[in-house]
Amino acid sequence: MTGGSSAGGRDSSAGPVPLPMPKFAAAARTALADTGLRRDLRADAAALRRRREAAAGELGDWQELREAGRAIRDETLLNLDAYLERLEKSVTEAGGAVHWAADAAEAARLVTGLVRATGQGEVVTAAVPAAREIGLHDALAEAGVTVHPTDLAELVARLGGGRRPAARPAPPAFHRDRARLRELLARLPDAPPDLPDDPAALAAAARDHLRRRLLSARVAVCGADFMVADTGTLVLLESEGNGRAAVTVPDTLICVAGIDAVVPTWSDLEVLLQLLPRSATGDRMSPAVSTWTGVTPGDGPRELHLVLLDNGRTAVLADEAGRAALRCVRCSACAHVCPVYERTGDEPYGPRGGGPIGAVVTPLVEGVESAAHASLPYASTLCGACADVCPVKIDIPGLLVHLRGAVVESRRRRPVPTPELVMMRSAAWTMGEQGRYEAALRSGARWARLLSRGGRIRRLPGLLGKWTEARDLPAPPAGGFRGWWRARPRSGGAR
């Protein structure tokens, strides 16, 4: 494996998942302390929000488009089995081979086996969103295959540049300032020693390097943003054109995609192609859109393999409320507007991907028994910004609350109640009757006044201490609202 996959463990698209995932809050603390990451995320968010808003706003019928996108995705998911069969038939008739992977391990095994069968020791990869999900790069490295990622963001990440942006299709190294980019690209073996920091020269250096890799590639692994069931056509959106080369030049092309990437027809694709680039990068259309169907003698790859990945997706379909999450077309717009993601990045959400939709999909697929997965639905203030921008109208806050319900129900089944459950039950019991509630108000006010100084509380005990780590709480004045109401000269109404 070339360079960098272990560089600080930050190689987010292909990194190993060696240890049990930490809870979100713990992983977030690490991310919050990473000043470079914070700066990059802030810059990404600002630019991508602005671009998305402009690109969506210039269309008069954006809301109608979103509704059409929602309807297409819902109908597809409802009949997913039929569309997948149709896709398999179309791909096979066009000369490709379809492989079904039930889980991540099987997908990694399939791809590794397919690469091995070619006898080649090297592969290029281009735009494989599922790479991290299935541990692709590690699996290939273990099999002794050298992997050359060809998208610029991935290249920069591997040169030690930290995270790659979550957006699909990714804007090329979007968040880098050029001095830093120069420093990173100068590490390329074929970079000129006097590499200047102007964008054209930097692009040329990266291009020279990547082009050499791509032109000599015999085997490529790529992803697909969409797969058209009617014709068996695979569709890849990207910003740089490396994917176009990767699906054209090699003899063998292996495409890995989730089963949810299927679209029934080209007219469905037309709607989604308007929604996705505008939502992802604020582009009217992605700079490179590649569509290819099967194999064509004398033109392009001689062998085409499509690995269709389930890995929990059908289980999500079975959850009536949760299935809306599979509408996702992986544009990352929800992440770009999320105030939590803007401060933590992808890492704390785990290998299936970050941002609000990641906080939904991971616990939907993996369940909520583990503390880490159970922490994800709570990694949101429910501010609702994600729901407003989602191009296929996924009610992400609603799904997060639905999953929080699942977390609590699973905890209720445990023999020993959690402290939170005890607290929540007792709060509900107190609120269940006027006398108990008013008594609690009175005793709470007494305690608060004991804890306060100069009208503010600076330290609270127990779980509430998390609040006063950085925030004061006002001390409630004596009597409270009810005291005032009862003492009013003309307290009419119900008392």
Partner: protein, 248 residues
């Protein structure tokens, strides 16, 4: 008009001035305010934290207490949003069709909606000679879609200088139990909110929800930020006369 006040438990306990202000304001506008004393909590915290059964119990209680009233007004945007947007979901989550019907019959208005849409007033006769910034809370903005109603009310207040808050639409990081469960991220968010608030040089930051104000105000207080937080209702109730603040 006879208006039932739902003060919200958070205000009942910590911000009695807000309930007083709503009462004083509505009475000044010539309406009768009643306070059903059986009211407690709408169930928001239980619902958003995943405690569906407890939330349903509290929702049923709320529907019992406020079911008979033609108009219920609350100074809490998030509680209004809970009743209006979440009660039907709570009912479905626990399979309680009767609660769903009862929730549908509730007439709960957030204060600024009630003033502008139901009473048709924007000038409530207030006087508040201070520099004020307005934070549109997430529930105000994205669930209730209050839009510019609070701003129209504030612009009509005599003496008040309204200043624009940069990045106003970004969440303050409160999120109920989020502020405890993800305290570090929450603090990182409120730090930016505080930076924007202080940048306006406002004397007062106001909002339609004391939850978010307790959060931003708590951070401002800890940092000795020199900006007070006040609920929108308290500004609208102010007339310059000492009694108008509604203190006994």
């Amino acid at each position: 008009m006879r208006v039932a006040l739902f003060v919200a438990c958070f205000n009942d306990a910590l911000f009695p001035g807000t309930g007083r202000a709503v009462t004083v304001l509505l009475e000044r506008l010539g309406h009768e305010v009643v306070f059903p004393p059986g009211q407690t909590c709408c169930g928001q915290m239980h619902w958003t934290t995943g405690y569906q059964r407890e939330a349903a119990d509290l929702a049923r209680r709320f529907a019992d207490v406020f079911g008979g009233h033609d108009a219920v007004v609350t100074p809490s945007a998030s509680c209004a949003a809970t009743v209006r947007a979440a009660y039907a979901r709570i009912a479905r989550a626990v399979g309680d069709a009767e609660l769903e019907r009862a929730a549908d019959g509730l007439a709960v208005h957030e204060l600024s909606e009630f003033l502008v849409d139901v009473l048709g007033v924007t000038d409530v006769g207030a006087y508040f000679p201070h520099r004020v910034a307005y934070h549109p809370t997430c529930h105000s903005l994205r669930t209730l879609r209050l839009g510019d109603r609070p701003l129209r009310l504030l612009r009509a207040v005599r003496g008040l200088e309204l200043v624009e808050l940069p990045a106003a639409e970004e969440c303050c990081g409160f999120g109920g139990t989020f502020a405890l469960k993800n305290a570090d991220v929450s603090v990182a968010m409120v730090a930016d909110k505080v930076r924007h608030v202080r940048g306006t040089c406002a004397d007062v930051l106001c909002a339609a929800d004391n939850g978010c104000l307790a959060h931003i105000g708590g951070a401002l207080s800890r940092l000795r930020g020199g900006v007070r937080v006040m609920h929108l209702a308290e500004i609208l109730a102010a007339t310059g006369a000492p009694a108008a603040a509604g203190r006994p």
